[in-house]
């Protein structure tokens, strides 16, 4: 097949569904052939998921997880974007802060769990703090890179038209780096969704992460464990798809390669 040929509409839907069905089939027969008593088959997982929905705990857990991500990610964006823009704008400040950031950045938010519990106790605040940490650094770094990659012709044009430094930042540098900032936000949101599950396993007693650990601890309900895992995957996908819509906005679309 020629790689330049656009796949037809039905093909774009059919093949992904076909592969999913294939995987489900493989999973089903693996369970049957190995005659495992512990690992659930797809049908058992489906029943488990239905049970969760009926008991109405699931909505509560989904809501709690999303709420924690919204608060933690929101705070990371609210602090990270201005900080990143400032550091990108003043390279001298960046040089001062950069070493500290480079040391903090590779530390997994999971490693912060004991520290978070000392700071905030076991509870919501600790979980939100961990999500904040996970999302904060990618956002700051994306903003710094975004600002320093703004072509000098744009800055010069802005100065030529008599913009004050503050106007230059808001009217030229910010919109010019926005595509890169959006990419950073998207990566950060993905990380936030990873971290929330881990945080909920330890610090709180609600949310999808807690659902997994609780299902295992109270009677080894692996059908519920896998059901929760699949839900986490689906919601993560939905978040990413929703965020990708931002990239289609006309004022940032120029910054994405395949949309030139």
């Amino acid at each position: 097949m020629n790689s330049l040929v656009e796949p037809r509409k039905w093909e774009r839907l059919f093949w992904p569904l076909f592969v999913s069905a294939l995987l489900l089939g493989a999973w089903h027969y693996c369970v049957v052939w190995t005659a495992t008593k512990i690992f659930p088959s797809p049908l058992e997982v489906e029943r488990g998921m239905a049970q969760l929905f009926h008991e109405n705990v699931l909505w509560r857990d989904i809501y709690d997880s999303l709420r924690r991500v919204a608060v933690g990610f929101g705070a990371a964006a609210a602090l990270g974007i201005p900080l990143g823009l400032t550091l990108g704008w003043y390279p001298a400040a960046d040089q001062v802060v950069n070493p500290v950031m480079q040391i903090l950045r590779p530390i997994s938010p999971i490693a912060w769990i004991p520290v978070a519990i000392i700071f905030f106790g076991v509870g919501d605040h600790a979980a939100v703090f961990l999500i904040f940490l996970g999302a904060f650094f990618p956002i700051v770094v994306a903003c710094i890179d975004g600002v320093s990659n703004v072509p000098s012709v744009y800055r010069r044009a802005g100065r030529n038209f008599g913009l004050a430094p503050w106007q230059l930042l808001t009217r030229v540098v910010f919109p010019a780096s926005l595509p890169q900032i959006i990419v950073g936000l998207r990566i950060a949101l993905g990380i936030a969704w990873l971290v929330v599950v881990a945080a909920e396993m330890i610090a709180v007693d609600s949310g999808l992460g807690y659902l997994i650990i609780d299902s295992r601890n109270s009677g080894k309900r692996y059908d519920l464990v896998v059901a929760a895992m699949l839900l986490i995957g689906l919601i993560g996908l939905a978040l990413d798809v929703a965020f990708r819509r931002l990239e289609k906005l006309k004022s940032v679309r120029w910054g994405f390669r395949n949309e030139a």
Binding site: F161, G162, Q167, P175, V252, R253, A260
Partner: protein, 262 residues
């Protein structure tokens, strides 16, 4: 000869921009490179001047010092008798079409420099210049949807909208195909004749210089100094197969040291 030249230039030229003993030395990795050497030049008000020279000779550097983006190592540039200390909306630098802002529509780009004006005046100017550069119907389009020539016209419109005294164009048509380039030269002349701005136009294309300019400043290879200033005493529209055109063009070819044969 000199009396004929005076006749051919229709405007009484008052000095708009003056460069006096401008030298520029770049220092990189402990090495000094002299880029401009003792440039002395008067540009008349409303004049169309071309700076012509080989690639990398320093003519863009000279244009950048005139715009105020760079300051000369020694010497000074004055505009209306006032020393240039930085970029100013009264003289707008036009880059190749890369200078338009891709996050703004055609309208948004033209309006960019008009933030100090009341809304009605902004709208009036945007409409006027969209009309002038022939972008009507594309008001809401974004630059990636436009062709190279359209983007270039958009950048010229954005520059003209702030009503500058001077346009500084740095090889503005360099990235366009040869047919579009010819059309754009005609457009630029039309706009220049309508608006009577002082235009300083950097190019390495001898034909382009002779077609457009009142005077062509021929610059040497680096360090650039002014080799000769050629007055193009042919009225517009210019017949580019006329003997006088060919004579002037050949003169510049020889001046640059190129035999006119391939």
């Amino acid at each position: 000869m000199s009396s004929m030249e005076a006749l051919a230039i229709p405007v009484a030229l008052q000095t708009k921009l003056r460069a006096e003993h401008v030298n520029m030395v770049f220092r990189r990795d402990g090495k000094e490179t002299s880029v401009l050497r003792d440039i002395n030049l008067d540009v008349g008000d409303g004049e169309f001047l071309c700076l012509l020279g080989p690639s990398g000779c320093g003519k863009s550097t000279l244009l950048n010092t005139m715009a105020g983006f760079l300051s000369p190592t020694s010497g000074q540039i004055t505009v209306d008798g006032e020393a240039v200390r930085g970029p100013d909306p009264r003289r707008i630098f036009v880059f190749q079409e890369r200078g338009v802002f891709p996050w703004l529509t055609v309208e948004g780009n033209i309006e960019f420099g008009l933030f100090k004006l009341p809304r009605e005046e902004r709208e009036r100017r945007v409409a006027h210049y969209i009309q002038m550069v022939g972008l009507k119907g594309f008001e809401k389009s974004y630059p990636p949807e436009l062709s190279g020539g359209m983007k270039q016209r958009l950048e010229v419109a954005r520059a003209l909208a702030v009503n500058p005294d001077m346009l500084l164009l740095d090889e503005p048509f360099g990235a366009l195909d040869s047919i579009t380039r010819l059309i754009m030269r005609g457009e630029l002349l039309r706009i220049w004749q309508a608006e009577r701005k002082t235009i300083i136009f950097v190019t390495h294309d001898i034909d382009e210089a002779v077609q457009l300019a009142d005077r062509v400043v021929v610059m040497s290879a680096r360090p650039a100094h002014i080799q000769e200033i050629v007055t193009i005493d042919i009225p517009h529209p210019r017949d580019i197969s006329s003997p006088r055109y060919l004579e002037l063009r050949d003169g510049i070819f020889k001046q640059i040291g190129l035999a006119h044969k391939i």
